[in-house]
């Protein structure tokens, strides 16, 4: 019995052969020594660019930028906090759009992209909450307060965690993706609430730093913040590409496992019939000898 891969190529000689080889050898049917990872030339270039930009961020954020008149050196946390919040929003946007496209097109790639966006966004939401708390202690005198911006960000984090928990449910993959996609649609409306919370409610949190023609910071502080957007943007993109490929691989691995299980089941069903085959054939032969 020969198992067939989703790509239609023959691999293995056993119905239980999933094509899983030892590390480094790769599955049967693949080129020996083929790279077994999610990297490519593009991601390597992106990774080096991200590392260089992070080095520049450390230089500008911790050395070149002056201390703020009001915040003191706590302003240096803003160079990580503000870009992380922005890319948290971007991750949520990616998930919502990919979820909508999954519900419309049912293309597995959109489902993988939605999952990647939510997971990376969750990591950035932890960074935002952590750096925000560490900034709040010397500036506001407290790590946490039930302010509109902080509370809505915590709700967004919980929503992202719930979305990812839903994706881990042991149910039919299609139904699971559909339910997760419906939850994914709620992310962007929640982001709008987080972003506008400082305007809609009385808030301890400061207003937008850059979203105006005359930003509230300038000089080396503005440059440090821009470098922060560049560095964390490159890191975000690198993470998104790798995480998307991991989600894609998870889908393909599930298909390979399903094919192997189906092949094993067909072999089980075919085996008794095959064993009885010669007798049946003999009977048929006997019957054929009976004159009409």
């Amino acid at each position: 019995m020969t198992a067939i891969t989703p790509a239609g190529t023959s691999r293995g000689t056993s119905p239980t052969d999933t094509g899983r080889g030892p590390a480094g050898t790769g599955p049967a049917g693949t080129r020996p020594g083929a790279p077994a990872h999610t990297g490519s030339r593009g991601t390597r270039l992106l990774g080096w660019a991200a590392l260089a930009a992070l080095g520049l961020l450390v230089l500008y954020g911790l050395v070149v930028s002056p201390a703020d008149v009001e915040m003191g050196d706590a302003v240096r946390l803003m160079y990580v906090h503000v870009p992380s919040a922005t890319y948290l929003y971007v991750g949520c946007f990616v998930t919502t759009v990919a979820s909508a496209l999954w519900l419309w097109k049912r293309t597995p790639g959109w489902d993988a992209l939605a999952e990647a966006g939510a997971e990376v966004a969750l990591v950035f939401s932890f960074v935002v909450l952590l750096t925000g708390s560490l900034w709040g202690r010397p500036t506001w005198g407290t790590y946490w307060t039930w302010d509109a911006r902080l509370t809505s960000t915590a709700v967004l984090t919980a929503l992202l965690a719930g979305y990812l928990a839903m994706r881990r449910l042991d149910v039919d993959p299609d139904a699971r993706s559909t339910r997760a996609a419906v939850l994914g649609l709620l992310l962007v409306p929640n982001v709008v609430v987080v972003n506008r919370s400082v305007e809609w409610w009385r808030s301890l949190h400061q207003d937008a730093t850059l979203a105006r023609i005359d930003p509230t910071i300038e000089g080396d502080m503005l440059v440090a913040l821009m470098v922060g957007f560049l560095a964390i943007g490159l890191v975000f993109t690198w993470l998104m590409v790798h995480r998307f490929r991991v989600a894609w691989l998870e889908q393909q691995a599930d298909r390979v496992d399903l094919d192997a299980a189906l092949a094993a089941r067909r072999a089980e069903v075919a085996a008794p019939a095959g064993a009885a085959g010669p007798d049946d054939a003999g009977d048929a032969g006997d019957d054929s000898e009976v004159p009409a």
């Binding site: 691999r11 899983r20 790769g26 999610t38 990591v123 900034w135 991991v246 691989l249 998870e250």
Partner: protein, 53 residues
């Protein structure tokens, strides 16, 4: 050397250091886990399905 002196002389240096280190640990740790998951899964999937390799 100037950079190190600048950082030591900071106000709220502990908060700044904690924030930057925690960010590096969170993002770096997550990136590492993604790469590891990718390596592990890549061995289970035929090369034709790994379109980037």
């Amino acid at each position: 050397m100037t950079g190190v002196t600048t950082m030591i002389a900071m106000t709220h240096a502990g908060y700044v250091a904690a924030g930057w280190l925690a960010t590096a640990a969170l993002i770096g740790g997550y990136g590492l886990s993604v790469v590891r998951r990718g390596r592990k899964l890549s061995r289970h999937v035929p090369r034709e399905e790994r379109r980037w390799s």
